[in-house]
Symmetry: C2
Subunit: 69 residues, 2 copies
DNA sequence: CACGCCGCATAGCAGATGTTATATCGTCGG
DNA sequence: CCGACGATATAACATCTGCTATGCGGCGTG
């Protein structure tokens, strides 16, 4: 359905590292809870449709801002 | 805990009516399932943080487009 | 009328999320 | 060394969401 990176956990970690954000800060930026970001990074859950969309949108914005590769 | 319009179900219905969208079409526009929009309108559930944010964002966009009061 | 289609309401189940609490690890200041 | 703090990992529970199926009423077509 929704194309997602083969490795979502690693992608989240990488994005967060490049932006120098804590799990809590990224969670707030995305509008989800800390626990959710933590579970994504540790492969405990797979993001919902909406969460995936929000994450993609967030990354797109950061790229436009030149803050993300 | 989360502030929201006093009557979320009515708000959703009203927005949908003004945009002349079916529940399914609005759901797709928001990136959620038809069942979710239906449950919102019928007061079966309250939207998640992310869903609320997405809905607000959607409304803001439509207002900017002059398609929503 | 009989039929199919669309929009809507509802239900059940599995999985994702929010909240809260606990535990570990590294770091820094005392 | 030891305690405090931040960041992270994990767990449990309640709630929300996705998917599928079912039922109902309206509407146009044959």
């Amino acid at each position: 359905m929704i194309r997602q990176p083969e490795n979502f956990p690693e992608t989240v970690k990488e994005v967060r590292r490049q932006l120098a954000l804590s799990q809590e800060e990224l969670a707030h930026a995305l509008g989800v809870s800390f626990a959710t970001v933590n579970r994504w990074e540790n492969g405990k859950t797979i993001p919902s449709k909406l969460a995936q969309r929000q994450f993609e949108q967030f990354c797109a914005l950061k790229r436009k801002q030149g803050k993300l590769a």
